[in-house]
C-alpha cells in the first residue's frame, strides 16, 4: 500500500500516431472518413494501419506510430532518464507528458503539478527587460505573480545577470538568455519537472550548476524529474533509473547503468555494412578496421601499451580521393571526444600508387594508453580544397581496451574519476 502511494506518475499504454508526407492534401477526405466511422460507430479507419517507426526503412503506410504502447511508472523524488536515438520518440513522449499534444490512445495519470522545460525561455519577448521576462516566462510555466515576486531575488542571483535585469533581452548574449530562462525554471516548484535537452547550451560552469540544481530539486524537495538527454555522462550522474526508447517502443526500463550499456549495444547493432558508398557511388569506403601493428587479423580488443593500426580502404575517382582529408576520432562511452588522428594535422597527402584502383590508408599508433573501457572510432571525410566536412560516420568501430602484462592496474579505472588516459607510470 505504501509503495502504491509513492507512484506519482503512471503512463498506461500511451501511443501516438503521426501522418507522414505533406499534411494538407486529402485532409478533408480523411476527416470525412473519420467522421463517417464515428457516426456509424466504427473504429477510426486510420488507427489500424500505422506501423512501427523505423526511420530508415521505407514503410507502406501513410501513418506511423511515433510511440507505441508505452507503459511505466515514476515514483516521487525519482529522477528518471529517457534515452534513445534521434527519432526514437523521446520528444514526443515529453510533449504528451507536458500536455502540448494529446496521446492517440492510452492515458497518463499523475498527482501534482507538472511543469515542462522542453525549451528554455519559451515566450521570452526580445523587447522586454530581463525582469519583465522573468515574470512572463514564470507565468507561462504556471507560477503566479506572487510566487515569482517572492523568488525574484533568488532567480536573478542564480542566473548571474544582476547587471542586466533592466535591459531588454534582445541585447543579451544567447548564453545569458539561457541562464536567465533556466533560473526561472529552477525556482518553479512543480511536483514533476520535465526537462528536455536544454542543458546543451551554456558553458560548463553553468551546466554543472544546472545539474546540481536538478539534483537538489529531487533530493531535498522530493520532486520528481524526467530528464531527456543524449549526454550519457549527465544521465549517469543524475538519474537513478532510466528508460530506453527504440523506434517508438519502450525497449527496457531499469537501473541507469544497465540502460546506458543497452543503449550502446543497440547502437552497435545498427552496424554499417561495407562497402559504404558516398556521393552517388563516386567514392566508397570498402573497409575500415583496427588491427595489431604488423599482424594481419582484425581486432576489437586492444591491450594497453600495444601498437595498433587503423586502416581505411577507399575506392573511387583518383583525383577526388587525392583531394580528401581523413580524420579518425576516438570517443568514449559517454560520447566524449578523446583524441583525433588527422591527415591534416600531419600534413599527409593521400596518393594512389600507380596501377591501383583502390587506396589503403594506414594510421599506425604506438603505445596506446587509453584506460580499460569501451571506445568508439568515427570516420570523418573532409575536402582538402576548402576544408569542408564531406561526411561523418559515427562509431564505425567499437573496441575494448584491456589491461596488459607490462603495466598492471590493480583497481578498476573509472573514466569520470580517473580520466580516459592513463600514462605508463611508476611510483617510487
Amino acid at each position: 500500500m505504501m509503495k502504491q502511494q509513492d507512484v506519482i506518475l503512471k503512463v498506461e499504454n500511451v501511443s501516438k500516431q503521426y501522418r507522414l508526407g505533406v499534411v494538407g492534401t486529402g485532409t478533408i477526405s480523411h476527416d470525412f472518413n473519420r467522421f463517417l466511422a464515428k457516426v456509424t460507430g466504427k473504429e477510426d479507419p486510420y488507427l489500424k494501419i500505422g506501423e512501427s517507426n523505423d526511420r530508415s526503412t521505407k514503410g507502406t503506410s501513410e501513418y506511423v506510430w511515433a510511440l507505441k504502447d508505452i507503459d511505466f511508472e515514476v515514483k516521487r523524488g525519482e529522477i528518471l532518464g529517457i534515452i534513445g536515438k534521434n527519432g526514437a520518440g523521446k520528444s514526443t513522449l515529453l510533449k504528451i507528458l507536458s500536455k502540448v499534444t494529446g496521446p492517440t490512445t492510452g492515458c497518463i495519470k499523475y498527482n501534482g503539478r507538472i511543469a515542462s522545460l522542453l525549451e528554455v525561455g519559451t515566450g521570452f519577448h526580445p523587447e522586454m527587460t530581463g525582469k519583465e521576462n522573468i515574470f512572463l516566462n514564470g507565468a507561462i510555466l504556471g507560477m503566479t505573480k506572487k510566487e515569482i515576486s517572492r523568488k525574484l531575488d533568488e532567480i536573478i542571483e542564480f542566473s548571474g545577470c544582476e547587471r542586466y535585469v533592466d535591459t531588454p533581452v534582445k541585447r543579451y548574449s544567447s548564453g545569458m538568455k539561457v541562464r536567465l530562462a533556466f533560473a526561472v525554471a529552477a525556482f518553479l516548484e512543480p511536483d514533476i519537472l520535465i526537462v528536455d535537452e536544454v542543458l546543451a547550451v551554456g558553458d560548463t560552469e553553468f551546466q554543472k550548476k544546472a545539474i546540481g540544481k536538478m539534483q537538489d530539486i529531487s533530493s531535498q524537495a522530493e520532486r520528481t524529474v524526467l530528464f531527456v538527454s543524449h549526454d550519457m555522462g549527465a544521465i549517469q550522474s543524475l538519474c537513478t533509473r532510466a528508460i530506453l526508447l527504440v523506434n517508438g517502443e519502450l525497449n527496457i526500463i531499469g537501473k541507469t547503468k544497465m540502460i546506458i550499456s543497452e543503449y550502446f549495444k543497440a547502437k552497435t547493432i545498427a552496424k554499417e555494412v561495407f562497402p559504404i558508398s558516398v556521393f552517388n557511388n563516386s567514392l566508397s569506403i570498402i573497409d575500415f578496421h583496427l588491427h595489431k601493428s604488423h599482424k594481419k587479423e582484425i581486432i576489437n580488443i586492444v591491450a594497453y601499451n600495444d601498437d595498433i593500426s587503423i586502416i581505411v580502404k577507399l575506392k573511387g575517382n583518383r583525383s577526388d580521393i587525392e583531394d580528401l582529408l581523413l580524420e579518425f576520432k576516438i570517443y568514449n562511452k559517454q560520447q566524449k571526444l578523446i583524441t583525433t588522428f588527422s591527415t591534416y594535422l600531419l600534413n599527409f597527402n593521400l596518393k594512389f600508387k600507380n596501377g591501383d584502383n583502390q587506396l589503403k590508408v594506414n594510421c599506425d599508433i604506438r603505445n596506446i594508453i587509453l584506460a580499460p573501457n569501451n571506445y568508439y572510432i568515427s570516420l570523418i571525410i573532409m575536402k582538402k580544397s576548402n576544408l569542408s566536412v564531406y561526411r561523418i560516420f559515427d562509431d564505425l568501430i567499437q573496441f575494448k581496451m584491456v589491461k596488459s602484462k607490462d603495466f598492471i592496474l590493480k583497481n578498476v579505472v573509472k573514466p569520470n574519476i580517473h580520466g580516459d588516459i592513463i600514462f605508463n607510470h611508476k611510483w617510487n
Binding site: S98, V100, K109, Y110, G123, H125, E127, M143, T144, K145
Partner: protein, 283 residues
Amino acid sequence: MEKEKWLFNISPKNNTFNLNLKEVWHYRDLLFLFVKRDVITLYKQTILGPLWYLIQPLFTSVIFTLVFNNVAGIKTGGIPPFLFNLAGITTWNYFKECLVATSDTFKKNEQIFGKVYFPRIIMPMSIIISNLLKFAIQLFILICFYLYYVFFTNSGIRPSEFLFLFPLLIVFMGMVGLGLGMIISSMVTKYRDLTFLVSFGIQLLMYISLVVIPLSLFQKKGVEWLVMYNPMGYIIEMARFLLLNQGNVSKFGIAYTVIFSVLCLLFGTVIFNKTEKTFIDTI
C-alpha cells in the same frame, strides 16, 4: 485492494463541455502579463507610438466622409457625416482587431504552444483585453470630436438616455469577436485558406455592418435582408443610437445580438478547447 486515486489524467478524449474554468483562473496572472506584454511592446521603436491608434480612425473617417457622403451623397440624418463615420469606425475597429488577432491564435503562437502547456484560451482572451486599451484611446478621440460638435456647432446632437449601456455593448462585441476568432483559429490549424478569407472577408463585412451606410438607407432601397442577419450591423447601429441618439433599434435586433453573441462564444470555446489538444500535430 483499494482503488488508486489520481488527481489528474491525460487521455485522448475529453469532455466536450469541460471548459476547465478553474484552470483558467489559476493562470489569471498570465492573462494579465500577456496583456501587459502586448501593450508595452506594440509600438516600441516607433516615433509616433500610440499616436498611430489615432491616425488610423481619423484618416479613415475623413476619406469615408469625402467618398460616401460628399461624392456619393449618402445622408446621415441630422448627424454631421464625419462624426457619424468616426463613431461607426471606432466601434467597428474594436471588433475587427479582435477578430483578426484572435483568428490567428494557433498559427502565431505555434512556437510557445509547441513547447509549454497553459490553457490556450488565455491567449485570445488577452488579445480581447489588450485591444480594449486601443479602443479606449480611439474612444477618447471620438469624445473630443463629439464635444466639439456639441459645444461649437449647432448640430443639436445629444447622447441617448441609455448611454450607460454602452459598456455592455462593448462586451457583446468582444464576445462575437472572440467567439468567431476562436472558431476560425481552430479551423486555420488544418485549412490555411481561411486566413485569406478573414483578411478580405472582414473588409466586405464592414460594408454590410452599417459602418458607413445607415440602416434607414438599406430599408429605403429594400435590401434590408443584406444586414438583417448580421449581428455586427445591429451592434454598430445600437452604438450609434447610444452615442448620437439616432438610428432604429428594434427588440428583435437586441435579442438577436445577445443570443448570437452568447452562442458564438460558447461554440467558439468548445471548438477551441477541442482543437488545442492536438493542433500542434496538424499546423
